[in-house]
Subunit: 517 residues, 2 copies
Amino acid sequence: LGLKLRVKLMGLEAGGKLIAILNHDDAEEMGAHSQGRLNVSFKGEQATAIINTARRYVEKGEIGVFHELAERLKVKEGDFVDVQISKPPRSTAYIKNRLAGRKLSREEIFEIVKDVVSGSLSEIEIAAFVTSLCHHSLDLEEALNLSLAMVETGKTLEFNSGLKVVDKHSIGGVPGDKTTLIVVPIIAAYGLTIPKCSSRAITSAAGTADRAETLMPVEFTLEDVKKIVEKTSGCIVWGGALQLSPADDIFIQVEFPLSIDPLLLPSIMSKKKAIGSRYVVIDIPCGLGAKIKTLNQANLLARDFIELGSRLGMKVRCAVTYGSQPVGYAIGPALEAREALTNLMQGFGSPDLLDKATDIAGMMIEMVGGGDGKAEAISLLETGKAERKLREIIEAQGGNPDIKPENIPIGEHAFTVKSDMSGYILWIDNDAVVDIARSAGAPKDKGAGVQLNRKVGDPVKAGDPLFTIYAEKESRLDQALSTLQASKPIGVGERMEMLMSVVKAPEITLEKFILER
Amino acid sequence: LGLKLRVKLMGLEAGGKLIAILNHDDAEEMGAHSQGRLNVSFKGEQATAIINTARRYVEKGEIGVFHELAERLKVKEGDFVDVQISKPPRSTAYIKNRLAGRKLSREEIFEIVKDVVSGSLSEIEIAAFVTSLCHHSLDLEEALNLSLAMVETGKTLEFNSGLKVVDKHSIGGVPGDKTTLIVVPIIAAYGLTIPKCSSRAITSAAGTADRAETLMPVEFTLEDVKKIVEKTSGCIVWGGALQLSPADDIFIQVEFPLSIDPLLLPSIMSKKKAIGSRYVVIDIPCGLGAKIKTLNQANLLARDFIELGSRLGMKVRCAVTYGSQPVGYAIGPALEAREALTNLMQGFGSPDLLDKATDIAGMMIEMVGGGDGKAEAISLLETGKAERKLREIIEAQGGNPDIKPENIPIGEHAFTVKSDMSGYILWIDNDAVVDIARSAGAPKDKGAGVQLNRKVGDPVKAGDPLFTIYAEKESRLDQALSTLQASKPIGVGERMEMLMSVVKAPEITLEKFILER
């Protein structure tokens, strides 16, 4: 049964989905249900929309149209469209099967991903799909097909086949991890091609793109990225607008509120594949406060990355790294960029940061057949070649190639926390440090963050500074101080104290969820 | 960090949820994410809303407010509200735990259900909860707590403790099942109290409320229901507006599009508990085309109903009934009401219908201590006492107590399908019959439906009528005829033909999903 309905523009986006609102009476007349599907056509344009129903605001004879559907159909307020009940896409049946525990075939996965990207699946259906992957967890075949489908529905980059395209990726979860800012110039200086597309912070205090943005512009088209990389062998850009995996951008909208991450492997590997990488090092920080808590977990995950990479035609090695305290001393975009630049210029400063960066760069060099990769990486650092390469990249991306660490602006409002006793730094709580940095305004306020004066194992005297909080606005500093009052970011003691916290009631608190990837 | 934002009314409901839209820049400024939570306050009113973000339509400095949130806060267009980031409700952590396979405690379940009813959980979170129940399926303890939580968050009815309150429920899935229209008057005539709250059709051609509505009004308040039942010992009303389990009404919004039904047990039993039932018969139709396909499945489900009922303080018996063809001859609200009334008046007509109704009524009578229940039920039918009781109920509900079957209007447009060969009726395809009846306009057009002339096993000659399709509108009859062309509702043959359908390619079609309960 068909109806002719008058378009009412809802003046609202629907998160990429094609949604139409029917008045309850019209829906009943047509035998349509909320979350069912409607064929809508207008002057040769046609779309299948997800039905919502309303008892008010959309009158009988009207159809409420959200932004995306209006664009697709090219309709204006008051236009008359023809509507007809339609079947839900086949992918909804596949999702139901996955919920019942059936593994998905290649064709089924491609169809689901295609429908996710085209806005044909509702939020409920996407949520059901993502949660279905948590249960009978992804096998490698499914992960492979998901990766391929995510690549196919996104944009890709191809480099001259003579170039050795390498990449690195950290699954995230450790604050202050500015390793990429040092690895990229080392590797590009060595002569490999490294088109590094990074993310911005979601739950952390800074993403690599946020850090890099204090040195140079990071938002480019995929064509620009290619030009920059062909010129300088490397880049450090924001991957978020490149449409490398539009499906993943949508899945994240569901994973974030549910604090689940079943698509970790295909999400990361699809983007590496899309950008043309052939050799990839995956950094898996491990430890209390990191995403991965045990070495066994880390090893299992590493094996999956390696196997999935191999099926996708990429050589993968994994670095399981120490993640129980921040990397280096700085947490927050500008503070971290300063630290990275200083270390690149001096060749020393933050031993753990430089150790990690040269380890990872060394692995990459050895993967493509180089000799002692670590020694090579250290040499590129100490001879200043890596620093010069970073400045080349900064220039190619439109930044000031002569930038000095002190040119990177830091928040003017600061507060230094001092130790109230002598002893040693026993532990640093990653989550608490991130909470304080975010309260101070990071990552949005790039000059906000936390600068540590001590790391685990360092001796400290009563009255010595432990760390300084920086904020761009006084109100934000106040907020960081009140966050500080409710937490204990650094433990100082004369010897290891074993009690970490006292559980008083069987209450379940919201566990910190790290989505960065 | 707090902001003061100007209210923009979105002119739209959000399905009961409290939703606020922030401009992307304001969200970033506050460190807020889509699907996070926002504390919104206005002149002493306060609410926690689910955040959506927008890059257009809601400007910086504005907050987009949906109907429900506007009502809660009592705001108008242009009012200024104070907003502040807030944590998601604890129930989101419980849902995440359930996703990871952890069973939920009583307190956790109550908190989830409470938040579902108050609009505090997003569609994504509710979908994740419902799908989480599909995996590590509900144990009885969880089913019990869900039932209790659903009762507690809804309205309830209590009858004088001297009354024996009985109830029946079919889990649905068989077309033409007008059994309730016969059981209720038999039981009320016997002297038990039966406050029957029925549903309307969702995926079927008629629900009991749809059928009853062709005889009498069925929409009442809970107070009215009590008065009617106290007067006549029974009623047949629509349960949908009684708010007996508002949580279930929301869960169904997710179950329907996903074609999953993990909340079947608590959904049904919570409503029986809420209406004050003490003795309940659950009808489990079983067979090809019914919801339950095997006797073993039926028995397992029956055991769960009985055990759950016992924990909720109700005595439950289950009737596993034959469900491989429609009950009686009529499918569609008015046709079915005619059939039920005719059978009540004559005491004969549709043998399977009367057999089923007296079986179930007999079980109820025996549950409260009566002797030969079936014989008693038949006697109440044959003496006309059941018919008189139905007319009492019709009068109490405001209908015409003298209604005759022919007073119930049937669609004027009809088409009779005749057999093209002689033989026996081998099978009737429930799904196909329902599809034809729905295409003809049922359940919305009450006079639409299918009237069978033959049932399985009946002999038929070439040219004999098999069934007649009725529609209120000619366009609907045409639609039913085109549905008919694409299906084969009745199989006629000289002997059983074993081939039911040919699977040509490994394609997965959308299985018929029966939500009625």
